[in-house]
């Protein structure tokens, strides 16, 4: 029994961490409407400040205060330099992606300032105490106390004070709040300061019981986000309770079942929660079936039958004078062709075995995966944060089959892609019904579950070390052992992916998805099955991720968890945003541009590591933020046919209108600006 209390109490401690993060989420969302994905990294920064000042013979209280102040300041800076600038220009999803960028930027900075190693500090007052037979570190009391005090303060603030009520009014009805004389910008600053301060506090106080490293923010942030989502991003007390609950679930399950899979339980609970809520919710599966039963049976006839014979009501038509189909101008393909030709020629000037060649190969592999993500994010407007998970599925499949079972590399590659497709189908089928951020969270959770699995199932996947000794893939006289040959093979794969992506975008599937993206109800009424279209694009995008993963393994000749972590998803999202969401070449353009800049910066700064340099993370974050703030349409769209025509027309006209023509063509607004994303989020947060 004491053992159980032990688990419960330590669960409460980690629950407090989740709770305070969730509280910050709720406060920021409640006041500003921003879903702040940098919340976990705030805590990381708080922990880092604590860790680095603690060693300096600094009073502990001063360190804690410093952590709180620094993080609050970071949050305020974020509000001033990102949120306040683009608040009215990008939708809720856009704001969230920017905050994701801020989070990555903070990770990059932390990596540069504090290095790679995890840090911790001793308890404020070393020692333990016993409660109901459980032995607990004294620090536990600090954490519990801080959580309780924070919660009470927040409740008092929001329910008892005019200031708190004014803050709430901002998110509920900004226009009315403005009319009442509430200074929205001040309230937003205050909310970010409080949300940041809370994260800084928990980062500092929890440090003795945990440890902090540059990448420790992601998982904490995710769990905090879950707790906030349970509370509908609106009720502080529920958020705290959910955070505590998740902490207890994690620890009890870890203690009673298996500690190596401890995170799995939290993510599992999350997934089940999201899916069950979706199924049981208003208009969900259960409600539909119940009503259908009541009114004569859903499966009365399995196949849909038209009321009268098909098209009986056919209005006699005046034939239009047979206008031909509109065609793109011949030079529409020019820019992509130039880009691809340059990419094809790259190996001729790059030396095999050089760092530049390795960088080029990674760029190419990323471009394959990013092309899939462009379809998912840009065409399907599905905010997936689990793309690297699909890369991982295929990568590990190929490695396991070729190394452990000595399969033919080509067959293994095919099976790898197939499993990625199956994985994408299952993930998509489960999560695509979820709206807005729930989709992002669910896909991310599935990826993290996969990562936990490949790290822990050592006998099967080699654990942290991964699977080594993947044989070469051979075709004609080409072999993946040669970097040049590998480049050509991957290049052909990229061309195939681009061709499929382009055909799909131009076909009725692409058209339907663009219609769904702008007005889903309108599209459905015209017979468009939005779910099926989205699932199809999700699966095609997944196949491309699988292809990238399978080939990746032959390049590295190993499969290890760190290659396909959350950082890869962030990179891929960055590439797509930078290149342009609404253009099939967006992912490729982004991968080349960002990859090239990263290579140049890293090769300038240090000759040490090639792949996981500090600056890469930093640049990802910076690119993500800059492009969402300034060049929201991305590079590929800025250079697309309609735009170039617009520029040319403008030059001819002299200095005419400031903005290029936006009418016509598929390259209208990027997904981050759409109303659909906004309303999806409204649904998600309910």
């Amino acid at each position: 029994m004491a053992q159980v209390f032990q688990y419960i109490f330590s669960g409460l401690s980690s629950g407090c961490i989740f709770a305070l993060i969730a509280l910050g989420f709720v406060i920021i969302a409640r006041v500003t409407g921003v879903y702040n994905f940098a919340q976990g990294q705030y805590m990381m920064v708080g922990g880092m400040v604590m860790a680095s000042t603690h060693t300096d013979k600094f009073p502990i209280a001063a360190s804690v205060v410093l952590s709180v102040v620094v993080v609050a300041l970071v949050a305020v800076l974020q509000e001033r330099f990102t949120v306040s600038i683009v608040r009215d220009k990008v939708g809720v999803v856009g704001l969230a992606v920017i905050s994701l960028g801020v989070g990555v930027l903070l990770e990059g900075l932390a990596l540069i300032v504090w290095g790679k190693n995890a840090r911790s500090i001793p308890s404020f007052e070393p020692g333990t105490f016993t409660l109901l037979g459980a032995h607990l570190d004294n620090q536990t009391l600090w954490i519990w106390g801080a959580t309780l005090v924070s919660l009470v303060l927040m409740l008092v603030l929001f329910q008892r004070t005019t200031l708190g009520k004014a803050m709430r009014a901002c998110a509920l009805n900004p226009t009315a709040a403005r009319l009442l004389g509430i200074r929205l910008d001040r309230m937003a600053i205050l909310a970010f300061a409080i949300g940041g301060g809370l994260a800084g506090l928990v980062g500092a106080i929890a440090l003795p019981l945990t440890s902090v490293s540059w990448e420790s923010g992601v998982t904490v942030g995710l769990v905090g986000f879950i707790a906030a989502a349970v509370a509908g991003f609106d009720r502080p007390a529920v958020a705290v309770a959910a955070g505590l609950g998740l902490g207890v679930v994690e620890n009890v399950a870890a203690g009673e079942i298996s500690s190596s899979y401890r995170q799995l339980f939290v993510y599992g609970v999350l997934l089940v929660y999201l899916l069950v809520r979706d199924v049981l919710g208003e208009g969900g599966f259960v409600a539909r079936v119940r009503l259908a039963r009541a009114s004569g049976g859903l499966r009365q006839r399995r196949r849909l039958r038209r009321a009268v014979s098909a098209g009986a009501g056919h209005v006699a038509l005046a034939r239009a004078s047979g206008d031909r189909m509109r065609r793109e101008p011949r030079w529409a393909m020019l820019l992509p062709l130039v880009l691809l030709t340059l990419m094809a020629l790259a190996p001729l000037v790059l030396e095999s075995g050089s760092q530049a060649m390795s960088a080029a190969i990674v760029i190419l592999l990323s471009a394959v995966a990013a092309t899939g993500l462009t379809l998912i994010l840009g065409l399907g407007r599905m905010f997936s944060l689990g793309h690297a998970g699909l890369v991982l599925i295929s990568g590990y499949t190929v490695a396991i089959l070729t190394v452990n079972h000595a399969w033919n590399p080509w067959v293994a590659l095919a099976v790898g892609v197939l499993l990625a497709v199956v994985g994408a189908f299952i993930i998509g089928w489960l999560t695509l019904r979820l709206q807005g951020f729930n989709l992002a969270i669910a896909t991310l959770a599935i990826h993290l579950i996969l990562l936990v699995f490949v790290t822990q199932a050592t006998s099967f996947t080699g654990g942290e070390r991964g699977i080594v000794g993947v044989p070469a893939l051979k075709v004609f006289s080409l072999t993946t052992e040669s970097q040049h040959d590998f480049y050509w093979i991957t290049f052909v794969a990229l061309l195939i992916c681009l061709l499929v992506a382009r055909n799909l975008t131009k076909s009725r599937v692409g058209r339907s998805l663009r219609a769904v993206g702008s007005e889903q109800d309108g599209a459905s009424m015209l017979g468009v099955n939005a779910f099926r279209m989205k699932l199809m694009v999700f699966v095609i995008g997944g196949a491309m991720a699988g292809l990238a993963g399978g080939l990746w393994v032959f390049y590295l000749s190993l499969a290890a968890p760190e290659n396909w972590g959350f950082a890869l998803t962030i990179s891929l999202v960055t590439y797509v945003v930078v290149g342009g969401l609404t253009n099939v070449y967006g992912g490729v353009v982004g991968a080349v541009v960002v990859g090239a800049v990263q290579y140049l910066v890293t090769s300038q700064t240090a000759g040490l590591g090639e792949s996981s340099s500090e600056y890469e993370v930093l640049l990802n974050g910076a690119f993500l933020i800059i492009f969402l703030l300034i060049f929201r349409q991305g590079i590929a769209v800025a250079l697309s046919v309609e735009r170039v025509k617009g520029y040319v027309a403008r030059i001819r006209r002299g200095k005419g209108a400031l903005r290029g023509p936006t009418e016509g063509g598929p390259s209208a607004g990027p997904m981050v600006q759409t109303g659909t994303a906004g309303s999806a989020v409204a649904g998600a947060s309910r």
């Binding site: 208009g283 409600a287 009503l291 259908a292 009541a294 009114s295 004569g296 859903l298 009365q300 006839r301 849909l304 039958r305 038209r306 009321a307 009268v308 098909a310 009986a312 009501g313 056919h314 209005v315 006699a316 038509l317 005046a318 034939r319 239009a320 004078s321 047979g322 206008d323 189909m325 509109r326 055909n503 799909l504 131009k506 076909s507 009725r508 599937v509 058209r511 663009r514 219609a515 702008s518 007005e519 109800d521 309108g522 599209a523 459905s524 009424m525 015209l526 017979g527 099955n529 939005a530 199809m536 095609i540 609404t582 009418e663 016509g664 063509g665 598929p666 390259s667 209208a668 607004g669």
Partner: protein, 279 residues
């Protein structure tokens, strides 16, 4: 209160079985009852009009009939099959098309492209062929474009196919919506205030179009404020007020009904200026 089988102006006798048949429809939004116990019938080749003041629940009824909303209670059948619980794309495939009170503009698609959306149902090529852009896909695309143009010229707008819909005046947008609905080759069309924002001549043209649609055998449910239009085309009129059906009958009978005059026609004069934009 079901619409009685009536004689169409074209002289044909409407089928005794209604194509679309809704019984006891109730829709609650939270505690608010938007539609309460409404029955609607739509017969092939027959124009049923639904009138009522703003907020009476007309659009909500259309949403219920087209699968956009799940009724709190009640049944909707199309040709004997229940549609309750089905998604609106399925209802569309079963032969029910609709327009929206606020036209759907489909940002990023030209008018012609948006007209091709419903034509996807008639595509002969598989999705797999879409990936490789096979000859059959190309043929589908060309055919879809042609028929998009055909339907646009039916409503007199063949020359706007390459324009974005947002560039059209609202009257043309409504006509595009009608054309798009027809491109589904439906058995039933539900029109939500198609004449709002149309000038006199456009309304006249719309009236002729609606009659033409009905003559071809399609059942029409016309939600409308314009009494003149309703009186000129409707075979049956259903009057809603505050979610309740207060009268059903021929246009003349309804317009003489004292309850209707009190609840609705009295309001007609104050209205007309204020066009409320709701779904």
């Amino acid at each position: 209160m079901s619409a009685p089988a009536a004689t169409t102006p074209a002289g044909g006798v409407a089928a005794s079985e209604p194509l679309l048949c809704a019984r006891g429809l109730i829709k609650r939004f939270g505690g608010f009852v938007a539609v309460s116990n409404v029955d609607v019938d739509v017969h092939a080749g027959h124009i049923t009009a639904m009138i009522g003041p703003n907020g009476a629940g007309k659009s909500t009824v259309i949403n219920l009939l087209s699968g956009a909303l799940l009724p709190t209670k009640g049944s909707v059948t199309i040709g004997g099959q229940s549609i309750v619980g089905r998604g609106s794309h399925e209802v569309a495939r079963m032969g029910v098309a609709r327009t929206f009170q606020t036209p759907r503009l489909f940002d990023g698609l030209s008018v012609g492209e948006s007209m091709m959306l419903p034509r996807a149902l008639f595509a002969k090529s598989s999705y797999l062929e879409c990936f490789v852009h096979s000859p059959r896909t190309r043929k589908d695309e060309a055919g879809g474009w042609e028929s998009a143009l055909d339907w646009l010229s039916f409503v007199g707008l063949a020359d706007v196919a390459e324009m974005p819909m947002s560039a059209l005046p609202v009257g043309s947008q409504r006509l595009v919506e009608v054309a798009r609905a027809l491109a589904l080759e439906p058995d039933i069309v539900l029109l939500d205030e198609p004449a709002a924002g149309l000038d006199h001549t456009e309304t006249e043209r719309l009236a002729r179009l609606i009659e033409q649609i009905a003559q071809s055998g399609i059942g029409v449910l016309l939600v409308e404020h314009d009494m003149h239009l309703v009186m000129s085309v409707a075979d049956t009129v259903v009057v809603l007020d505050a979610g309740v059906c207060i009268a059903t009958g021929t246009a003349t009978a309804v317009s003489e009904d004292p309850t209707v005059i009190e609840a609705y026609l009295g309001v007609v004069n104050d209205k007309g200026a204020g066009e409320v934009k709701d779904v």
